[in-house]
């Protein structure tokens, strides 16, 4: 059986459930979710705020564990993978795009891009430079994130998620914090990632953004339709 950090990542979720305890009691956000995503597929998951979209992504990224059900990526059951193997899996096979960009404030734009490469022991800095050029940010490589516009920051965020050519790119409301003009290039980058063979799962509440994906699913009352 392949090890957690050697898997071929194709996502399969079977009967996955997740609940949180809050002031009102136990709140079930995922209730028997089933999902299959093929390699190179771009899937958009929509749903109202609080429907569990981000939780679903976190479970696929091994950031959170499901309460019940099976989360198989590349044929390996992820929920049983302990630390630090789950972190190494994420580092090597997953790229994440955050709604609020989450760039490391003390690293320059270029260094933010180099971060996943260095973490994976890849010394090839040209890949980051080429990606920056392609994003039209070649002259901002030495800038720190807080002097970039929101659109620029998110383009760096997507580039960081793609730079080490991960098998899975997970995008959490990637354009949710941007206007249409700034959001379009971001979505285009995600589509490009899928066309290069990465599996892209994007959660969004924007119908327009979801239309860019090859397949669209809706999370409602904890279930995918």
């Amino acid at each position: 059986m392949p090890q957690a950090d050697q898997i071929d990542p194709v996502v399969r979720l079977s009967d996955v459930s997740k609940a949180y305890r809050d002031a009102t009691g136990l709140r079930r956000v995922l209730d028997g979710v089933d999902l299959d995503v093929r390699a190179g597929e771009f899937v958009a998951i929509t749903g109202p705020s609080g429907s569990g979209k981000s939780t679903l992504l976190n479970i696929v990224a091994a950031i959170e564990a499901a309460d019940a059900g099976s989360v198989r990526v590349g044929g390996v059951e992820l929920s049983g993978v302990p630390e630090p193997a789950s972190t190494r899996f994420r580092r090597r096979h997953v790229g994440i795009v955050f709604q609020f960009f989450n760039l490391v404030p003390t690293l320059t734009v270029r260094e933010n891009l180099l971060l996943p490469l260095r973490l994976n022991g890849i010394a090839d800095a040209k890949r980051a430079d080429a990606l920056l050029e392609r994003l039209g940010l070649g002259d901002r490589g030495d800038s720190f994130p807080d002097v970039l516009s929101g659109g620029e920051q998110q383009r760096v965020g997507v580039a960081r998620a793609m730079v080490h050519a991960p098998a899975i790119v997970l995008a959490d409301e990637p354009s949710g914090n941007l206007d249409e003009a700034a959001g379009a290039p971001v979505l285009e980058l995600l589509r490009e990632a899928a066309s290069r063979g990465s599996t892209v799962i994007m959660v969004t509440h924007s119908v327009a953004a979801a239309d860019v994906a090859g397949r669209r699913l809706t999370l409602h009352h904890g279930r995918l339709d």
């Binding site: 994420r90 994440i96 989450n102 996943p116």
Partner: protein, 828 residues
């Protein structure tokens, strides 16, 4: 009110940060209160003890060295017509291993001056009665009527506890004093027909002058204020020590408060930006922040005073223990919370808190709302490197100028010391920035993103950590400076003892006013088997009307023994001959400093024949007393004073004789009743160094306290910083950093901050050491000493700074093991 609610709710949302702020203010205040309460209490206790023995007397009639004829009392009472005059016969006695003072008084006249009542118990009147305060009687396990055996030199006698010594309201009871009648004291102390002194209350200087004109030569009328001034000088070394460390605690406390409070304001800049963007005016925000600071100050000062009083109990025990060991017994244990202490605490706590909040609050008031959201602007502002460097340069230049302009002033020396500290502290942010910048290239070459981030984060968070780093630097520097000074002092004392203590065995009486050796005893010493030669000595205190108590040392020694004097100034040519028979005297460095003397000068002193001039031939090194000593030969002494005999002897053994065997023989044949101390050279040297170490034990405690405050500052600053970086850590975890990697990064950052603080502390510490040795010690006590830089102490200080900062990172690093990544990805 909603903006205020938003600001206040920040406290509820981040209770740990809020708690750290309050702890910062409270600890800063507590240290100052603890040092202040303990030193004020010790001083009050000293004054109380002094007042108890002196009462309302304005003058003392005394002989130059050895008491006065009892007829003097008649002269004072009858011829001079002084109503309030109290004769006293005094001596140091021992009872049950404890040294006590026996005072023979006339109860009626003494009551008028000292307010002490001798309340007799029910016991039958018997000869040799003694009265003691209830506390002392309890300590000795005595009840009224019990017998108490007192020893005075080789003489012992049974006294009986005849009653209790009580004081009128407002009067203080002397501790460790036994009171008897004059006749009993004269008999027991061997002072038949003599008095130690007569205390008098005079109305004015005319009355004093009239009395003075009636006194025979060798009998002086000394103003008690002159006496007290000299008495207080006894504890000057100790008080200087406490004052310096108290000031240090104050400076570090200020740093700590400034750091924690400004941090609390800086941390919430995005919220302030939002409130400003929503329409809150800059002035409104400023006012709210100052009001908040006032509340923090009120709570922090209250907690700090309570904690400080609690801490002062421990500190006072150390302080009074050291004073007991060195000067006199402080029997009282009541802590004095003086209004000035409370005022200082309130001023420090409130002033520093409001000031610390005002600086970032002013900046928040002026900055455009957008600017408040960005970190880079505040970090740049935090550095202001040129401004800080300018401030540092100005403070250090001012320190040097103050020293140069005031060659003798101790206050100026302290002012320079603190200017130097402040100047050096202002360098801390720039040094952290430079170190981080310098290491960045090396870190980049390692191609490990965690290392680059750690190095850069140190610089990036300067607005949060700059002041704490400075505080840590100052505390470590002070620790280093004081430790090096004490080490240098100890080495100098060791060297001095090695040269000075040349004899093999030292014999002495237990008290300085014990009976002198008899001629027969001295002859027996000379003939003791193994003894080659002996030197004899006696220390006396001359009650000089102008100078107060002046200590002199009569020394009958050989040229070999005399060679032990380390002459600092003066012509060594035929010095021994001039000393032995030429009337010249030698003075110690503190003595020369106290009376501004140099070789060739003449020092005028009261003698049994009236005031006489003594030619100072040389100044020599001596660390035995900071009051200073004048050493003179028996030949010189006997020209001006009545014979007194000797109370100390140094035995030089002949070749091949064992010290322990000769000491055993001495104890067997000449010290059967064990009334004399006999110590070998080694034991005496060890005992002297033990006293030295005990003197500086309280310094060690205060240094530790200063370090604890600084470490608390750096821990709270770094911990609060790590706590607010939750989102950054969550992102790193999501990107594939393991908890261990992020923990390592956090520890790397804090270690680097500590390293910067430690590196800065080294030159400041060395400068402080030099300043303490060459300026403050010299100006305070007149002692010069060598400067010894112990590499181990230097390394220890660096390790302390790094260790403290590393410790600050341990909790946040440990917390990362159970860090909720998902919860923090979106949060601020």
């Amino acid at each position: 009110m909603l903006p205020l609610l938003a600001i206040l709710r920040e406290w509820r949302e981040h209770p740990v940060q809020g708690l750290l702020t309050l702890v910062g203010v409270a600890i800063g205040v507590a240290v100052v209160v603890a040092v202040d309460v303990s030193s004020v209490s010790a001083e009050r206790e000293f004054q109380r003890a002094n007042r108890a023995l002196q009462g309302v007397a304005t003058h003392r009639v005394s002989g130059a060295t050895g008491g006065i004829d009892e007829q003097i009392f008649t002269l004072v009472k009858v011829r001079a017509g002084i109503r309030d005059a109290a004769p006293v016969v005094r001596g140091s006695v021992t009872a049950g291993g404890e040294t006590l003072e026996l005072m023979g008084v006339d109860p009626v006249s003494d009551y008028r001056l000292r307010g002490m009542r001798l309340d007799p118990g029910d016991a039958e009147p018997r000869p040799f009665p003694v009265f003691a305060a209830a506390a002392l009687a309890d300590r000795l396990g005595l009840a009224v009527g019990d017998t108490l055996t007192l020893a005075y030199g080789r003489r012992t006698r049974d006294f009986h506890l005849a009653g209790t010594l009580n004081a009128d309201a407002g009067a203080a009871l002397p501790a460790n004093v036994l009171v008897t009648d004059i006749a009993a004291a004269q008999v027991f102390l061997g002072s038949a027909g003599r008095l130690s002194f007569v205390d008098v209350r005079l109305d004015d200087e005319d009355e004093a002058e009239a009395l003075r004109s009636l006194l025979p030569p060798g009998v002086n009328l000394v103003d008690t204020q002159t006496r007290n001034r000299a008495q207080f000088a006894m504890t000057r070394a100790f008080r200087t020590n406490l004052t310096a460390l108290g000031l240090l605690a104050l400076v570090i406390g200020l740093f700590l408060i400034y750091n924690t409070v400004s941090f609390q304001v800086v941390r919430r800049r995005p919220l302030f930006g939002l409130l400003r963007a929503l329409g809150m005016t800059g002035n409104g925000l400023f006012a709210w922040l100052l009001a908040e600071a006032a509340v923090i100050a009120a709570v922090g000062v209250t907690l700090g005073v309570a904690l400080g009083v609690f801490l002062s109990g421990f500190l006072y025990a150390m302080v009074s223990g050291t004073i007991d060991a060195l000067y006199f017994d402080l029997a009282g244990s009541a802590l004095t919370l003086a209004p000035i202490t409370l005022a200082k605490a309130a001023l420090l706590g409130a002033g520093a808190t409001v000031f610390a909040a005002a600086i970032p609050a002013l900046e928040a008031r002026r900055a455009p709302p957008r600017g408040l959201f960005t970190r880079s602007s505040q970090e740049t502002a935090a550095l202001h490197s040129r401004r800080w460097l300018g401030a540092a340069g100005a403070a250090i230049a001012a320190a040097l100028l103050v020293l140069w302009l005031n060659e003798d002033s101790l206050v100026a020396a302290f002012a320079a010391l603190f200017l130097l500290i402040l100047g050096a502290a202002a360098l801390a942010p720039a040094l952290v920035w430079t170190l981080s910048r310098g290491m960045e290239a090396a870190a980049a070459r390692m191609e490990r993103p965690g290392v680059v981030m750690a190095v850069r984060n140190v610089r990036a968070h300067l607005s949060r950590t700059g002041v704490a780093t400075a505080a840590l630097s100052v505390a470590v520097a002070a620790t280093l400076g004081v430790a090096l000074m004490i080490g240098s002092f100890r080495t100098s004392v060791e060297d001095w003892l090695r040269g000075y203590l040349r004899a093999d065995i030292y014999i002495s009486t237990p008290a300085t006013d014990a009976p002198a050796f008899t001629d027969a005893f001295i002859a027996s010493l000379r003939h003791l088997e193994g003894v080659d030669s002996i030197a004899l000595g006696r220390r006396l205190t001359v009650d000089d009307p102008r100078h107060g108590p002046v200590e002199i040392f009569v020394l009958d020694t050989t040229p070999e023994g005399f060679a032990g004097f380390q002459v600092k100034a003066g012509d060594r040519e035929k010095l021994f001959e001039r000393f032995r028979s030429g009337g010249a005297v030698l003075v110690t460095e503190p003595f020369a400093n106290r009376f501004d003397l140099a070789p060739g000068d003449t020092f005028e002193l009261a003698t049994d024949r009236g005031p006489r001039g003594f030619d100072v031939a040389a100044v020599y090194t001596d660390y035995s007393t900071e009051r200073g000593v004048m050493t003179l030969s028996p030949h010189t002494f006997e020209r001006h004073f009545d014979p007194r005999g000797y109370r100390a002897a140094s035995l030089y053994l002949a070749e091949g004789f064992d010290v322990e065997r000769v000491m055993a023989a001495f104890n067997r044949s000449l010290n059967r009743d064990d009334t004399l101390y006999a110590r070998s050279n080694r034991t005496l040297r060890e005992a002297s160094l033990a006293i030295f170490d005990r003197t500086f034990r309280v310094t060690g405690i205060l240094r530790l306290l200063a370090v604890v405050v600084a470490v608390t500052g750096i821990v709270s600053a770094l911990m609060a910083l790590q706590l607010e970086r939750a989102r950054e850590f969550a992102t790193l975890r999501a990107l594939g950093f393991t908890p261990a990697q992020i923990g390592g990064q956090v520890l790397g950052e804090t270690t680097l901050t500590g390293l910067a603080a430690g590196l800065l502390a080294l030159p400041i510490g060395l400068a402080l050491c030099v300043l303490l040795i060459r300026v403050i010690n010299l100006r305070s006590f007149g002692w010069t000493m060598q400067t010894v830089i112990d590499p181990f102490v230097v390394g220890q200080s660096l390790a302390l700074a790094v260790g403290a900062a590393l410790a600050a990172g341990l909790y946040p690093a440990w917390r990362l093991r159970r860090f909720a990544v998902a919860d923090n990805l979106r949060g601020d």
